[in-house]
């Protein structure tokens, strides 16, 4: 089973994301900021990261920068999931190594579409 690390300082968002991702057959690990997320990644690199931008301690953009420099850090598919819905943020995220980008609010259909886009979930033939 693939693992998705959900990184968001909102416990409600983490709960909603967990419900969606477990419904898509992912094992879910939660982190409340970028530092917490890096600890999890050092322990075991997940296949996917659902990543908020604005968090205390370390934000999503800086977490991504650290992740991509770690051994094996190029492997996880990183999907931003944030209220930052401006094109400048999107472009910065993609330049920083993100694979996809979700603008909040989100639903199961959007998560599924984005995870299919990055190859984490197969598109039905």
């Amino acid at each position: 089973m693939q693992t998705c690390l959900v990184v968001d300082d909102s416990s409600m968002i983490r709960k909603i994301a967990r419900r969606i991702l477990e419904g898509l057959n992912f094992q879910v690990i939660e982190a409340e900021d970028g530092v917490d997320a890096l600890v999890h990644c050092k322990r075991a690199m997940p296949e996917a990261v659902l990543l908020d931008w604005n968090m205390p301690v370390m934000d999503g953009y800086h977490f991504l920068s650290h992740l991509r420099r770690m051994p094996g850090g190029d492997q996880p598919k990183v999907v931003f999931c944030t209220t930052e819905n401006g094109i400048e943020h999107i472009a910065r995220a993609l330049d920083g190594g993100a694979n996809e980008y979700i603008m909040k609010p989100f639903d199961k259909d959007i998560v599924l579409a984005k995870f299919q886009e990055v190859g984490l979930i197969e598109v039905p033939a």
Partner: protein
């Protein structure tokens, strides 16, 4: 809603659009038409039907559009667009290399996500398509969805379902909470109002026809009739793309499946299998095309 109301609406929808509702779809009528009833200032479906019987043609049009408008999204089902790039365009680049032109018809274009997805595919191939003249014709029964398609403005939800983020950044401009597809892609798509039950020979002959997730709503004879007429609008080496749950097999021999590519068909050259009865609407009146983007 009384049984006579339901029967009246079933017959009206069949006659006007070919939509073939089975006997137990009252819930669908209620969910689509109760909001329309409220907007028309009447209490419910029975009162809406009375108003329609009173001769309100604009209300009839609104009812037909409310029942036939279906949700779509960018790169819906993904696989047909992989077929478009890898099979259809790979062949057409060679087959049409002499005349360097291509005509594509989206026969249920709805709010534009399908024709604009094709436009984006073609833009991504821009090097190979240099000097080519591409026409994408998007038709739909509903003038309302055509207007939305022409505007090319989509909500945050709509641009996140099926559209890769790289293409959003490349081909759309953000205006507040909405995203508009760029003008050069809007210019690639022409829009026409069209009822598939009616004569569409005036559209001309196409290299590629997308007719996805619309024929499922028609009865068998109507499907056969439309397939037979689609075959006449297609180049002998053209392609027909249907929805995942659709097939021509068992209905008509005018198309044959493309091997190993589900949903993809080509003209077979066979004589059309006649339908048992005329399509809904009887003789096919010409429909005046609505020109422009």
């Amino acid at each position: 809603m009384t049984p006579p109301d339901y029967e009246y609406l079933r017959k009206l929808l069949k006659d006007h659009s070919g939509l073939d509702l089975s006997v137990d779809k009252q819930y669908l009528i209620e969910s689509r038409l109760l909001p329309l009833a409220r907007k028309a200032g009447v209490a419910g479906i029975t009162e809406l039907v009375q108003k329609m019987k009173g001769g309100s043609s604009s209300l009839i049009t609104q009812v037909v559009e409310a029942m036939t408008t279906n949700e779509t999204f960018f790169f819906r089902d993904k696989v047909p667009f992989d077929h478009f790039r890898d099979s259809i365009m790979a062949e057409m680049l060679q087959a049409r290399a002499g005349r360097k032109s291509l005509r594509i018809w989206c026969a249920a274009g709805s709010t534009g996500q399908e024709p604009y997805s094709l436009a984006m595919c073609l833009k991504e191939m821009s090097g190979a398509m240099s000097g080519w003249r591409i026409e994408i014709i998007a038709t739909d029964l509903s003038q309302e969805v055509l207007e939305k398609s022409k505007a090319g403005i989509y909500s945050q939800f709509e641009v996140q379902r099926g559209l890769p983020i790289q293409l959003l950044v490349k081909y759309f401009k953000q205006t507040g909470e909405f995203w508009q597809i760029n003008a050069d892609l809007r210019a690639m798509v022409q829009h026409r109002q069209l009822n598939l039950l009616h004569d569409f020979s005036q559209l001309g002959v196409f290299d590629v026809i997308f007719c996805r997730n619309v024929l499922i709503y028609f009865d068998q004879d109507t499907k056969i009739n439309i397939f037979n007429r689609l075959a006449k609008q297609m180049e002998p080496d053209g392609f027909l793309v249907l929805g995942a749950a659709e097939t021509v097999v068992g209905l008509t021999d005018v198309f044959k499946p493309f091997p190993d590519r589900r949903g993809l068909y080509r003209p077979s050259g066979a004589r059309p299998t006649p339908a048992k009865a005329p399509a809904a609407g009887g003789a096919l009146p010409k429909v005046a095309a609505v020109a422009g983007h």
